[in-house]
């Protein structure tokens, strides 16, 4: 973790044993840590005075494995980084390799990438909100509603990519397979139904007094800290920074769509929660336009070799606006079949670095809410 100076920590440690403190290890079997994650929390009553995130329980050596295997062989592993958003991880990795090898992507594939990425965003945000409400103690109801919608999107993924979660769909220079017959129409139906779910969610939760009381003013991440901690995605935007890679990089064909980037002013859990709701509404707009405009044509550059793929020596960094924030892959090629260096910039991990800052002074019950509002997936944090 980032060392953030001594003053408060020293003060906490100097408190001695009978300062009424209780050390609690939340995790790794705690029900609300979203995976195997541990927080060593020091409590005064129920107030958090120190919090140390401990992770690495799910470390699978992803980056070193990638340096041993072929470029293509890493693609299915990227599915398993953020297992909620395999398609965006796929895309970021494909983008990095395409930059490295100088490949162009057919237009239809670009559209398919946008469509799958935005569908991923929809289901990720829906589920994140559901999980967060679950952490708030909402007995699974919002989560089940989110899962109900997610099922429909996963069905789309399954008929497009063959798998519901581990899609392994993007390839260097395009997408693995074209949409099967009727898929675009089915996607249109799902996207058309989605606002109904958003309205339902909003009615259930957005003005719920308990949700407001539990999340407003809780886990505030100030603007400067958000920028300096290199936060990204909804966590950064909730702190008042209108930074969205879809707008700044205009990668893919995002410049062809009209969408807005919602920004929060308070940087608290409620802002992070509501921003995801608003982002989903924008994603629906993108999806409707993309499904309307998608051109015919090939979905992959036929000249790209699958086997013995050896990009020229060099380095590249490909990044996209994943649902959780900036997901990026940094690759160094020495001209061989596997990357010389392979590095993931996981948004979950980097957003998590500000966790202690957000949690200090809050109640122990808020810790799980704050953690839920950051939206982490341990597969990506630990890699």
């Amino acid at each position: 973790m980032i060392d953030r100076g001594g003053s408060r920590r020293d003060e906490c440690e100097a408190g001695g044993e009978d300062a009424g403190r209780l050390e609690v290890s939340m995790g790794p079997q705690h029900p609300s840590t979203h995976g195997v994650f541990r927080m060593d929390v020091v409590l005064e009553g129920e107030t958090v005075v120190r919090l140390k995130p401990v992770f690495g329980y799910l470390h699978r050596n992803h980056e070193k494995i990638a340096e041993q295997t072929t470029y293509l062989g890493s693609m299915p592993y990227t599915d398993r980084l953020d297992y909620f958003c395999s398609l965006t991880s796929n895309w970021a990795y494909a983008l990095a390799v395409e930059k490295l090898a100088g490949l162009a992507v057919p237009e239809r594939a670009e559209y398919l990438r946008v469509i799958t990425a935005e569908l991923t965003r929809l289901q990720n945000h829906a589920c994140q909100m559901g999980f967060m409400l679950q952490d708030l103690g909402a007995m699974g109801t919002p989560m089940m509603y989110a899962f109900r919608e997610r099922e429909k999107i996963l069905d789309l993924f399954e008929s497009l990519t063959g798998s519901r979660m581990m899609c392994n769909y993007m390839r260097f220079g395009g997408c693995r397979a074209d949409a099967p017959a009727g898929w675009i129409e089915a996607a249109r139906g799902v996207v058309g139904d989605f606002p109904r779910f958003l309205d339902e969610y909003e009615a259930l939760l957005a003005t719920n007094e308990i949700v407001m009381a539990r999340t407003q003013g809780v886990g505030v991440l100030p603007r400067d800290l958000a920028i300096n901690a290199s936060a990204s995605g909804p966590v950064l935007r909730a702190s008042g920074v209108g930074y969205d890679i879809r707008k700044t990089d205009r990668y893919g064909v995002y410049d062809r769509f009209d969408f807005r980037v919602p920004v929060g002013d308070h940087g608290d859990c409620y802002d992070r929660f509501m921003l995801r709701l608003l982002e989903m509404r924008e994603s629906v707009k993108i999806l409707e336009a993309a499904l309307e405009q998608i051109p015919a044509g090939p979905v992959i550059d036929g000249k790209v070799k699958l086997r013995n793929f050896k990009p020229r020596a060099g380095e590249a960094y490909g990044r996209i606006e994943g649902p959780k924030g900036e997901i990026g892959f940094y690759l160094i090629s020495d001209g061989s079949a596997s990357p010389y260096r392979y590095r993931v910039r996981p948004p979950s991990l980097i957003n998590l670095t500000a966790l202690e800052e957000m949690c200090l002074g809050q109640k122990v019950a808020d810790v799980v809410v704050i953690l839920g509002s950051i939206d982490i997936v341990l597969g990506e944090v630990d890699r």
């Binding site: 609690v24 129920e46 909402a138 509603y145 009381a213 539990r214 003013g217 935007r237």
Partner: protein, 417 residues
């Protein structure tokens, strides 16, 4: 129920023809008298106490089983899934399977736990709650015990639950248990007051602490149609809402289920319990919910009184259990809808919101009684609305003030240029 059909034993030895209405209404009482009649003189006084006790425990034991299934099914439906549907017809025997599972599970006691207290805590939790079921009138003449201070008895025995929570939390030697116990105690103490205060309103209006008399005070109908239940008055309506909020907290139900808030402190004071001890805690919790629901029905919803004169043909205990079922469904609905409060919000809500409103409601009840003398045309409606405004407007305004003073409210979001 008597098997002779319409020709029934009315008490010991008295055979006579009775109609089905009377049979169902009086049947349980006759059955008890009949059974007691067999016994020798010395045993009669014991049997008269034991038989109702066993009957109450049996009925509520079954209800506990059914309520767990109903809760899971209703929650499932709220969440668009079917809920348990495998064991028995439509899954209604799920509780039996759960019971067997609980009974055969290993009973794990932490090594450093205080074994005696750890063992006693579930019993101390369940026993007083079961005791409090004794004073609730389930039907006409159907009450296990009718002490003169029935309501006081209810709250008095209920206070042992706090001790049980403490015993469980402390003896487990687990930090989460300790946190849960502290939360449980703080919560139960805080919410006992608004609970008692809203019940006090009824006591004041009915002029009795006996629950049987409180139910009888609610008999009759206004203009022959509207039952004279307390909930039909403004103070009764407000009292019911306050009572239900406080009751949810006192029985650790959502959204006040902080003592076991599973997303925060795992299982609270029940973290280290497993197997049958856990089942007893669970049972105590449900019995507590039944008890406060039954009390709410008794205090505000007319107890076993039928809602309409023509419906009085149905047995009175049927009405009671119907109302109890509605209450339980309400608790389940709340659980399926609301997120949990935080501990400081909970205490603030109890002390700063429910308690003042409970006191105000007492005042409103007095005003209601004072305005009873009005005799001009439309006086009833004016009285009703005036009293409702007296409690409703402060409730809304005070709530708004409390929310706004902390800056809580809906927000408007901007978009990056």
């Amino acid at each position: 129920m008597n098997m002779e059909g319409i020709l029934a034993l009315t008490g010991w030895g008295g055979l006579r023809w009775v109609g089905p209405v009377e049979l169902f209404e009086r049947g349980p009482v006759w059955l008890r008298d009949w059974a007691v009649g067999w016994l020798p003189e010395g045993a009669k006084v014991w049997a008269e106490g034991l038989i109702p006790a066993v009957a109450v425990l049996a009925v509520f034991g079954l209800l506990f089983g059914l309520a767990t299934v109903a809760e899971r099914k209703l929650l499932g439906r709220i969440q668009n899934r079917p809920g348990p549907n495998r064991v028995g017809p439509y899954g209604w025997l799920q509780f039996a399977a759960d019971g067997v599972k609980m009974l055969t599970k290993e009973d794990v006691v932490p090594r450093s736990a205080d074994r005696v207290l750890h063992f006693l805590a579930p019993i101390v939790m369940l026993a007083p709650v079961a005791l409090s079921l004794a004073v609730i009138p389930y039907g006409r003449d159907l009450v296990a015990a009718d002490p003169r201070c029935g309501l006081l008895f209810f709250f008095a025995v209920g206070s042992a639950a706090e001790v049980a929570a403490f015993m469980a939390g402390w003896s487990s030697r687990n930090k989460y248990s300790l946190l849960g116990a502290m939360r449980a105690i703080a919560q139960m103490i805080s919410y006992e007051l608004p609970l008692v205060l809203s019940a006090l309103t009824v006591v004041m209006m009915a002029g009795s602490l006996s629950l049987v008399e409180i139910v009888e005070a609610q008999s009759g109908y206004w203009w022959g149609v509207i039952p004279r239940w307390h909930v039909m008055t403004p103070w009764g309506l407000a009292g019911l809402l306050l009572f239900m909020a406080a009751a949810a907290a006192a029985s650790n139900r959502a959204p006040f289920d902080l003592p076991e808030g599973e997303s925060e402190i795992i299982g609270g004071f029940m973290t280290e319990y497993s197997g049958f001890k856990y089942a007893i805690f669970f049972m105590g919790e449900y019995f507590g919910m039944f008890a406060v629901s039954g009390l709410a029905v008794t205090l505000f919803l007319g107890g076993w009184q039928a809602p309409l004169a023509v419906l009085e043909a149905a047995p009175s205990y049927g009405w009671f259990f119907l109302k109890l079922g509605v209450m339980i469904a309400w608790f389940i609905w709340v659980r399926g809808t609301l997120p949990r409060l935080r501990v400081d919000h909970l205490l603030n809500f109890g002390w700063k919101y429910l308690l003042p409103l409970g006191a105000l409601n007492l005042l409103v009840a007095m005003v209601w009684r004072g305005l009873g003398g009005w005799a001009f045309p439309g006086a009833g409606a004016v009285r009703w609305l005036a009293c409702l405004a007296m409690i409703g407007l402060p409730a809304i305004l005070w709530g708004r003030l409390l929310m706004r003073s902390r800056g809580w409210g809906p927000r408007v979001y901007r978009y990056a240029s």
